[in-house]
């Protein structure tokens, strides 16, 4: 594993009874790369992320993040990693400052006020500091969630449909802020989204999963070209309906 390899997944497999949710998956992510994890519902994306974060025990295979095995060094890894999902929220009955202070403490930051204010500024919502989190608009809540995800200045960030509940305008804003911070700090990201246009804009490299297996991979352009499709959306629909693509893994012979 080279220094630039931040995530290394090998032979990752999860069986739920007879169902193989994730099937012998291997891939790596380099420092500063944004990997898109795509695929139709039930493809195994969530199960994969859960195993990567040590929430679910793999049936077989290993996950190494920042050079450490997630099974053995989970807490050291989590100290340098963060996570945000459209399906996870901060306590709605606390103020933004209270919530972010609690999480800053969980990440070992003793006096977080300055950092919290700077992050809110960065996401262009400084006015919400003393507001009750549950009373914010969904766009503001998403951005507060992202502030939480950047509190510990993470080296690796897992984002599960971060823009799912946003209108296109806010989604665009959030995306560009995210990309800005990502470039500036060289954060490695694992990104899931059902918005193929967004994926095309954000992700450096894609892994298309279907039934727990990688069915296409490469940069967004490569994936589109190899699948002989017009857009990622096309590719997605073909995978969702047929579950197969022709010669996606082979190099092109033009």
């Amino acid at each position: 594993m080279s220094d630039a390899t931040v995530i290394q997944v090998e032979g990752l497999t999860k069986r739920f009874g007879d169902l193989v949710a994730v099937d012998n998956l291997s891939f790596s992510v380099q420092r500063g790369e944004i990997l898109g994890l795509l695929g139709p519902n039930g493809a195994g994306k969530t199960t994969t992320i859960q195993m990567m974060l040590g929430l679910t025990t793999p049936t077989a295979g290993t996950v190494r993040i920042l050079g450490m095995d997630i099974r053995r060094h989970r807490r050291e890894i989590l100290q340098r990693v963060n996570f945000s999902s459209a399906y996870v929220a901060l306590p709605s009955n606390l103020t933004v400052l209270e919530n972010l202070t609690v999480f800053a403490w969980l990440y070992g930051i003793r006096r977080p006020r300055k950092r919290i204010e700077a992050l809110l500024e960065l996401f262009e919502i400084p006015q919400v500091l003393h507001q009750i989190t549950g009373a914010l608009s969904s766009g503001q809540q998403t951005r507060v969630n992202l502030c939480k995800a950047f509190l510990n200045d993470p080296e690796v960030l897992f984002l599960d449909e971060p823009t799912a509940s946003l209108d296109p305008d806010i989604a665009e804003k959030v995306r560009s802020t995210l990309l800005h911070i990502q470039k500036e700090r060289g954060v490695t990201m694992v990104y899931t989204s059902h918005n193929m246009r967004e994926v095309e804009l954000v992700c450096d490299r894609l892994l298309f999963l279907s039934r727990g297996k990688v069915i296409a991979s490469g940069t967004p352009k490569e994936v589109i070209r190899r699948a002989r499709s017009r857009s990622l959306e096309d590719v997605f629909i073909r995978i969702a309906r047929g579950g197969v693509l022709v010669d996606t893994q082979q190099p092109e012979e033009d």
Binding site: Q50, T56, L78, F83, P91, E98, V102, W105, L106
Partner: protein, 261 residues
């Protein structure tokens, strides 16, 4: 470690500061309980039915300490599930041990508040002075808190394993223990078969000891020691049960139910 534990405690204090309904849980229900048993005690005394001083009132106050301690643990997890915050917490560097410790501290805080409120009200309304037990209160309360944590770990593990569906059952667990803990009556009031089970519960020795202390003023060290030893056994069992359930939850991938699509 201290900072992470403090974070979880403060998170709940923030919540209680803001939410009257939740703060009421610490005050309202216990006070209602106290009133019920207080009036009953007064009625019985007026009709000259002999009753140890403060048996019922001491029982209700002590019972509430055990109950708060168990509920504090379960409620804090319930709260995180309710607001969909569990994964944020479980994906932070907080360990399960730290989480359990923090929720147990919440139990101490709540139980202390309840003791202070009920103890004072019982004195004001019914001239029952639990403070006459003095420093002897400390080991009694500690034994109840410890048992509450052990039961709390078991109920928390059940919620993680079986999800919200199990919650109704979980609220009832303390009430399964109540009749056997000899809260409002002496151990010998129970049928012989039930007594066998009662003797396995640390709470039984605490309530027996409380009655003895209120009646004779003497603290029976043997009862307290038995309660404490049993507490340790239950704590070990609770922790092992929790670890076992948590491993199953990870294998079955149930944490996704707590907020990942």
């Amino acid at each position: 470690m201290g900072l992470r534990v403090a974070a979880i405690v403060v998170r709940h204090l923030f919540l209680y500061r803001r939410s009257l309904a939740r703060a009421g849980e610490v005050f309202f229900w216990p006070v209602m309980d106290l009133l019920v048993w207080g009036f009953l005690t007064r009625y019985l005394q007026e009709h000259e039915i002999p009753l140890g001083v403060g048996w019922l009132l001491g029982g209700v106050i002590f019972w509430d300490i055990l109950y708060r301690s168990q509920q504090a643990i379960t409620l804090s997890l319930h709260e995180e599930i309710w607001v969909r915050n569990v994964l944020n917490v479980f994906l932070s560097p907080l360990s399960m041990g730290e989480y359990l410790l923090a929720t147990s501290l919440m139990g101490i805080i709540k139980a202390t508040l309840t003791l202070a409120v009920l103890g004072s009200l019982a004195y004001l309304f019914y001239a029952f002075n639990i403070w006459t037990m003095g420093l002897a209160l400390v080991p009694f309360v500690a034994c109840l808190l410890l048992f509450g944590w052990a039961v709390g770990m078991v109920t928390m593990a059940i919620i993680l394993r079986y999800g919200q569906a199990a919650e109704a059952l979980v609220w009832g667990v303390p009430f399964l223990l109540q009749p056997f803990s000899a809260v409002f009556y002496p151990l010998e009031a129970l049928p012989a078969g039930a007594q066998v089970f009662s003797r396995l519960l640390p709470s039984t020795y605490v309530f027996e000891g409380m009655r003895a202390a209120l009646t004779t003023g003497a603290v029976e060290g043997r009862l307290l020691a038995t309660a404490f030893l049993l507490d340790l056994i239950y704590l070990a069992f609770g922790a092992a049960f929790f670890a076992w359930m948590f491993r199953i939850v990870q294998e079955k991938g149930y944490l996704s139910r707590l907020g990942m699509e």
